[in-house]
């Protein structure tokens, strides 16, 4: 869904958070031996209170303020949608720009701390057209990090996943190091055989990048304002290191729509 991929951005309304209304019920003692309705329904005041919790989600209020402000009169709410009937001889299905990814295990801290981001977000941050003027910063406080960890979010992934995510991780490191002075990048992931064979010699020459063949286990922050502590295992040993910014390598996920299309046409996804 466009602009809906992740959790919706929720405004810090004055009445959030507030718990939802509980449905009143008759007691268990009153239920044995009869079929009286268990849930007795919301009393009016509770129903109104619950209804008022609704955020009334609406994207584009339809207020037309943009239309009023647009001097060249480019905005036109009446431009209609178009329906096209097209025929093809061949269809190629790709995953498109959904950029959805498989869920990350909560121990890695993505979603809990603002200074843990995905490889896809880091990619946008590194882009010249990205939201941060192309500077590597922590979304927690906008400070430029000194120590960045790029960690594998799916260490159990197959050879192909490991290879492409490792290349992406290394490429992102190259860009981050280029853009940022006095930066150390540590990449923690199981290393695929093909990566070792094809890329390792080149990667070893990148100064500022350290590759750790290990499995990331957890990321915690003991206190707000403190740096992140990454725990990972290397050669069967558990190790801990502190970082200012952590990037998690994700595993692409095919959207249900694309899956359905692929089933329907009985062909694979490129």
């Amino acid at each position: 869904m466009i602009y809906e991929k992740e959790k919706r951005y929720i405004i810090a309304f004055d009445d959030v958070p507030s718990p939802r209304a509980e449905m009143p019920e008759i007691s268990v003692d009153d239920r044995r031996g009869n079929f009286v309705e268990v849930e007795t329904g919301f009393p009016e005041a509770l129903a109104v209170q619950e209804a008022k919790r609704c955020l009334s989600c609406r994207r584009c209020l339809g207020c037309a303020l943009c239309w009023a402000e647009c001097k060249p009169e480019a905005i036109d709410f009446d431009i209609p949608d178009e329906e096209l009937d097209l025929e093809f001889d061949e269809v190629i299905i790709t995953k498109g720009q959904d950029n959805a990814f498989h869920p990350l295990k909560p121990e890695l801290g993505y979603g809990s701390y603002a200074d843990i981001i995905t490889d896809l977000q880091f990619e946008r941050m590194l882009s010249p057209t990205g939201p941060t003027d192309g500077i590597v910063v922590s979304p927690k406080d906008s400070e430029i990090p000194r120590r960045v960890a790029i960690i594998q979010g799916h260490p159990e992934g197959d050879e192909n996943h490991l290879l492409s995510s490792l290349i992406l991780g290394v490429n992102e490191s190259i860009l981050a190091l280029e853009k940022t002075g006095e930066l150390n990048v540590v990449l923690v992931s199981p290393i695929s055989q093909s990566f070792k064979e094809q890329f390792f010699s080149d990667v070893e020459k990148i100064s500022g990048l350290q590759i750790v063949e290990g499995v990331p286990e957890s990321v915690v922050k003991k206190q707000d304002g403190e740096s992140l502590t990454l725990t990972y295992s290397e050669d069967g040993q558990s190790k801990q290191e502190a970082f200012d910014l952590i990037v998690v390598l994700t595993k692409p996920k095919i959207s249900p729509e694309i899956k359905l299309l692929s089933q329907k046409l009985d062909q694979g996804i490129l």
Binding site: A12, C60, G62, C63, A64, E69, P131, S142
Partner: protein, 216 residues
């Protein structure tokens, strides 16, 4: 003058200039010479009260009541009641308000900027059409939905204007803004990025490991 003509930004400005209370008395609904001026006035004052509550000014300092020109005794009653209320609240920024003096005046400056902005003016003016005939897409709003829309603008515009006010005093880092405004730094970061996209804020310099931003 019709109460519908009262601009909420002037209300905020009056409070900023140390007004302790404001009573707006309009005609009864249905009696408006301009058809819906008093409805507009009620909507504007309700919204301003909401904004006051949000920033920590006791919203009871602003009231909207009805009275016709023939009801002298009703008028006296309304005024006395309101005067008692204001007396009990004490001076602005004292016991009666969540935010104390002198911060309260800074907040009211922000409120004035929010209320003078076109977003809130435009949307409050859309109340009647949104509830009756619908928005640009023909979607009719319930009152609750409209209130949510107003609340959304109040919450976001106040924080945005606070950031902009601060940046007008000089370049600031996200951390500095977070500290000065007591807003979590990750939220400031998002606002700054939104404002940059709108070309209202720009990166001025990077000092050490810290980017500094200015308003444009």
């Amino acid at each position: 003058m019709c109460t519908g003509r009262i601009d909420p930004s002037i209300v905020a400005k009056a409070f900023k200039n140390r007004l302790d209370g404001l009573l707006v008395v309009g005609c009864y609904f249905g009696d408006c010479h301009y058809i819906s001026g008093n409805v507009q006035a009620k909507a504007k004052m309700d919204m301003t009260r909401k904004l006051f509550k949000h920033i920590g000014v006791n919203e009871d300092r602003l009231a909207f009541r009805h009275c016709s020109s023939g009801e002298a005794s009703v008028f006296v009653e309304i005024v006395n009641e309101f005067a008692d209320k204001i007396r009990s609240l004490g001076p602005l920024g004292g016991e009666g308000d969540r935010i104390k003096s002198p911060e309260i005046f800074k907040k009211l400056e922000v409120a004035e900027a929010v209320l003078a902005g076109e977003k809130i003016r435009w949307i409050i003016g859309k109340r009647t059409p949104f509830l009756d005939s619908g928005n640009k897409y023909g979607e009719v709003f319930t009152e609750h939905e409209f209130n949510r829309a107003i609340d959304m603008i109040i919450v976001e515009e106040i924080e945005t204007q606070e950031i902009l006010c601060k940046l007008r005093e000089g370049a600031q880092s996200v951390k500095g803004l977070a500290k000065a405004l007591a807003i979590p730094s990750e939220r400031i970061f998002r606002y700054i990025m939104a404002l940059k996209r709108k070309e209202m804020v720009a990166l001025e310099k990077v000092s050490g490991r810290t980017p500094f931003f200015v308003s444009l």
